[in-house]
Symmetry: C2
Subunit: 138 residues, 2 copies
DNA sequence: GCTTGCTCCTACAGTAACTGGAGGTTGTAT
DNA sequence: ATACAACCTCCAGTTACTGTAGGAGCAAGC
């Protein structure tokens, strides 16, 4: 171990697969602390920042919204707390994902039905259009 | 049949289950034509507008993005065209929904695995946190 | 005729989570 | 000395609306 050196924002971006603008956005949003600056105003990072950003990215990859990430970060900082709260956040998120999958599946079924009804004629007797324009023939 | 009367924007909203602001937004976006106005500047609608808006809402309910709705509206107006183009738009949309379902399902699997690893201890040995903070222990 | 209350108007800010670009400075390598 | 990359700040744009502020019109009741 290792060069616990100063990293530029570009280094941090490369290490974590994050865009530079996104890092600035996270700072602005309070997910990352205000970075220290060099005399000329450039941001300087350390390994702790890399870890924090990696945590954020990993959480985002699992689909947690930023608000949830914020809570997770707070909880993760307090090593002696029970991890109940963390578990709860994750379960709420899981339920949300399940809801989205259910919604999309229902949509998929319906859309598939609509497409199946297409007889490949003209628009005049297109069943898709009819489905979209409920009782346009009154 | 019927009072093919003048409708206010509120009437139209009620008939189609759309918010008044949303109707104005659709007009602004070019999905609905610029409405005629009364002397005092209020929008006036007819049955044709109800049908067009119902078409838009139905398309939205099937998850079509506004750009697709715009295309569908154009195509629907030309009754003699083959409905091939319509079918194509719908299939592209279906493919997009399938992609989203696949993404969410993969996410769900991963998140479920992470949650399952929680041993309900303290944050210090919380497996969820460990998953989120990859190799924080160097 | 007047007031009350509902509906309408325009215009703009906010949502989620970034992304990209303009316009300008700094650091580094040749 | 001069490129050129990388940095800086600020701001607009993305999707599809939703909500609010501030003001005007309209219909009904008294």
């Amino acid at each position: 171990m290792a060069e616990a050196a100063h990293l530029t924002i570009g280094d941090l971006a490369r290490q974590t697969g994050t865009k530079v603008n996104t890092i600035r956005f996270y700072e602005e949003s309070g997910l990352l602390p205000q970075a220290e600056r060099t005399a000329s105003g450039r941001r300087v990072y350390r390994d702790a920042d890399t870890r924090r950003l990696a945590f954020i990215r990993q959480s985002r990859n699992l689909g947690f919204p930023l608000d949830a990430v914020r809570e997770l970060l707070t909880l993760a900082d307090d090593a002696n707390q029970p991890c109940e709260a963390i578990d709860r956040i994750a379960r709420v998120h899981l339920a949300e994902i399940d809801r989205k999958i259910a919604d999309l599946s229902a949509l998929r079924t319906e859309l598939d039905r609509v497409i199946g009804s297409c007889s490949h004629g003209t628009v005049a007797d297109c069943k898709i259009i009819e489905t979209l324009a409920p009782r346009a023939h009154e």
